[in-house]
Amino acid sequence: MMLLSMLAVTTVGVVRARNLFAVAVLSGVYSFLMASVLIVLDAVDVAMTEATVGAGISMVLVLGVLHLTKTDEARPVHRALLPLFVATVTAAILVWAVSALPPFGIADAPIHVAGPDYLARSLAETGIANVVTSVLASYRGFDTLGETVVIFTAGIAVLMLLKRTPSGRGGESS
């Protein structure tokens, strides 16, 4: 509860602040708080990812980009109506999607059926004690292959946009 209210305060701070440096630091704070929440929820693997990626790498990258731009947020040129509309529609779709989830606390929801099933099978079938790893890399190996390809794609996309070629071509706009 304490952590969640701190999360809410940080979010308001991120939205309110106009200084981008403050926003970057606050989003790092947000990531650490989120990691703490995930530890409370016993999701240690996800907490580790959140702390390293959210608070570590992306902070450095955001600060690096900040070095290239101004530190204060520019005043918006357009009215906020269209983004507001898009955000509202997206939120509505998400809320609508929640209605397709199994009812809260029902006994035969997938988490109560597949979860114990994995817990019972994992060590005998794969010899791996951490069920998160065995589900991630073995039972759901195809999903993880997709995630790796996503990271690969994101990486080369950023490189295509930002990289300066040694011969001086490409991205040499300024």
Partner: protein, 139 residues
């Protein structure tokens, strides 16, 4: 550059431990929290910290750009090749059961190699993005 003695000495102490921790997270992922993704990010962060303290030029000598960019697709290829190995040894795609003599051992091998692929791609992508962003700030 010469004045930040504390930063440089602290970084010198902390960098090997970060790398060691990345390796620990990678190989202990079967028993504790962690795995290829987290270890890759930590290893990438090690290189980034080195670059922040000692400068981009010194880092690109240790970890050349060409190597990093070759490693990004290599990780995905290692992962996919493990899947194809499953096909070749008589199972389904990404079925590790036949990679070794008995099924459990084959699963362990499969997960190990696959996590290695994830590690390589994640670590090199993080470093490559940092190089791209930091390289634009220079000159």
């Amino acid at each position: 550059m010469r004045l930040d003695v504390i930063l440089r000495i602290t970084a010198k102490l902390i960098l090997p431990m970060m790398l060691l921790f990345a390796v620990y997270v990678q190989f202990h992922g079967d028993y504790g929290p962690g795995g290829g993704f987290q270890a890759g990010v930590i290893a990438g962060a090690t290189v980034i910290l080195y670059a922040l303290i000692y400068g981009l030029g010194a880092t690109m000598v240790v970890v050349p750009v060409a190597v990093v960019e070759a490693l990004i697709p290599l990780g995905v290829l290692v992962y996919a090749a493990t899947g194809v190995m499953g096909l070749l040894t008589g199972g389904n795609f990404l079925d590790y059961s036949h990679l070794a003599d008995d099924e459990v051992h084959g699963q362990e091998w499969g997960v190990f190699v696959v996590e290695l692929g994830v590690f390589v791609t994640v670590a090199s992508t993080m470093v490559a993005i940092f190089y791209a962003v930091a390289g634009r700030g220079r000159r």
